[in-house]
Symmetry: C2
Subunit: 231 residues, 2 copies
DNA sequence: CCTGTTAAGCGTAAAAATAACGCTAAGCTA
DNA sequence: TAGCTTAGCGTTATTTTTACGCTTAACAGG
């Protein structure tokens, strides 16, 4: 069956940049999939695929990420739409890129349709990527770095329960600069968006830290009152 | 002539939110066009139209804005891609929205193709809009408000030569809050991105203000040095 | 020509935030 | 039990922000 239109139409895809944090190795990682179809067969690429009629762009992005990597139910936000002519050898294809943030307990990958395998790669040790995916990834990285300072999206990269040191490590990794632990914790507590748990870390080699959760209700309430999140 | 594809494909449009500032009336305005074709014939809408194969999304947006409003050579930035199912009565259509910022000397409108007429409307006095254009406009407004505080895009809404009072008025209008003129000017000068001209205002009823230009070279240089624009 | 009005622009002081750093307590490891 | 490392409470200096005063400049009106 085929579909005919009076005017030329583009293929429409979604591509996803999936970020995760490795707190042990202290690096930011991204999921890549190995393509098993042309073009760029055998090359690493961002997960993605064509949008279907009847689904929203966000549903399409979430579906493609789940199908190609097994990752689901994560933070997902639209990044930018890439539409340069000739960006895809197959013809006119426009891609709506998204980025996803994945907590450590959601890191498990299952490569399924359209991909031989899916793997985590440190963002500073990437192979050559298919299409314009290196460019898309750079845009996503810039977006993450920027938005981390004015929206509480970093919490999506941490476990539900985390320590202040882990939060600081996240910021140091993504922003690429050392932060003072005493000033960082004072700053974080001044934002008043954390809920202290009656728990401390286990299995650590030195003094165990207190654990916290991000209080989304409190954050929304403070936002309505005009207060801003700024780190 | 028709085009056939193995799979269903969406129509792809660009829509533009064109912002301009009325310094006399002290309001932010947006350009709307009156549609002269179905659907929504006779209703006001954002300028826009279908993307053509072979042109980039940005070229398409700039072309549609020029064709429908006469506005050209302005600041243009991608906003968000709207792709909910059934957002367009004609069928599957996805829209890549842009926002444009127009200096006062570029405000002149000429309605040409696909639009009966184009007019400026204050953003707080809008008619009912076609499609999901009211939603698109709200997103653009939020984007402008946010980005104005961390990037020097506001200068695109001012004349090439402007006074500090005019810059402050811009911020007060868009952010919707009064600012202290003494602190505002101290803050602006501390950013060190303005070039003072050897000119003062003319045709004003009281003490004429000094005129300035935004120094884009200086700003880029400071950005490379890690300094940030923040108002 | 003088007075009144309004805006531009230079300024001070207090409060708040940030940066830099010290030090003790806690707890694991050998 | 001692040593080492980290968490976490703290102080101080510096910078930024906020609040506001006041003088100068210049036009309008009588």
């Amino acid at each position: 069956m085929s579909f005919s239109y009076e005017f030329e139409r583009p293929g429409l895809t979604v591509d996803g940049v999936i970020f995760g944090l490795d707190l042990d190795e202290e690096n930011l990682q991204v999921v890549l999939v190995e393509r098993d179809v042309e073009p760029f067969e055998g090359m690493w690429a961002l997960p993605g695929g064509f949008v279907r009629n009847g689904e929203s762009l966000e549903d399409a992005a979430m579906r493609e990420l789940r199908e190609e990597t097994g990752i689901k139910d994560v933070f997902l936000e639209q990044l930018y739409t890439f539409g340069k002519p000739n960006r895809d050898p197959r013809g006119w294809v426009v891609s709506v890129a998204y980025y996803a943030l994945v907590a450590p307990d959601q890191h498990h990958l299952l490569a399924t349709t359209d991909a031989r395998r899916a793997e985590w790669f440190p963002v500073n040790k990437l192979p050559k990527l298919a299409f314009d995916h290196a460019e898309i990834l750079q845009v996503a990285l810039q977006r993450l770095r920027g938005k981390l300072t004015y929206a509480p999206i970093g919490f999506e990269l941490l476990p539900d329960k985390f320590s202040i040191r882990q939060l600081q490590t996240l910021y140091e990794i993504v922003l690429g600069q050392k932060l003072d632990n005493r000033n960082f914790r004072k700053k974080i507590f001044s934002l008043d968006v954390l809920k202290e748990l009656n728990e401390i870390q286990t299995g650590v080699a030195h003094r165990a830290a207190r654990l916290y959760k991000f209080d989304e209700r409190k954050y929304k309430q403070l936002t309505r009152q005009g207060l801003t999140f700024e780190i």
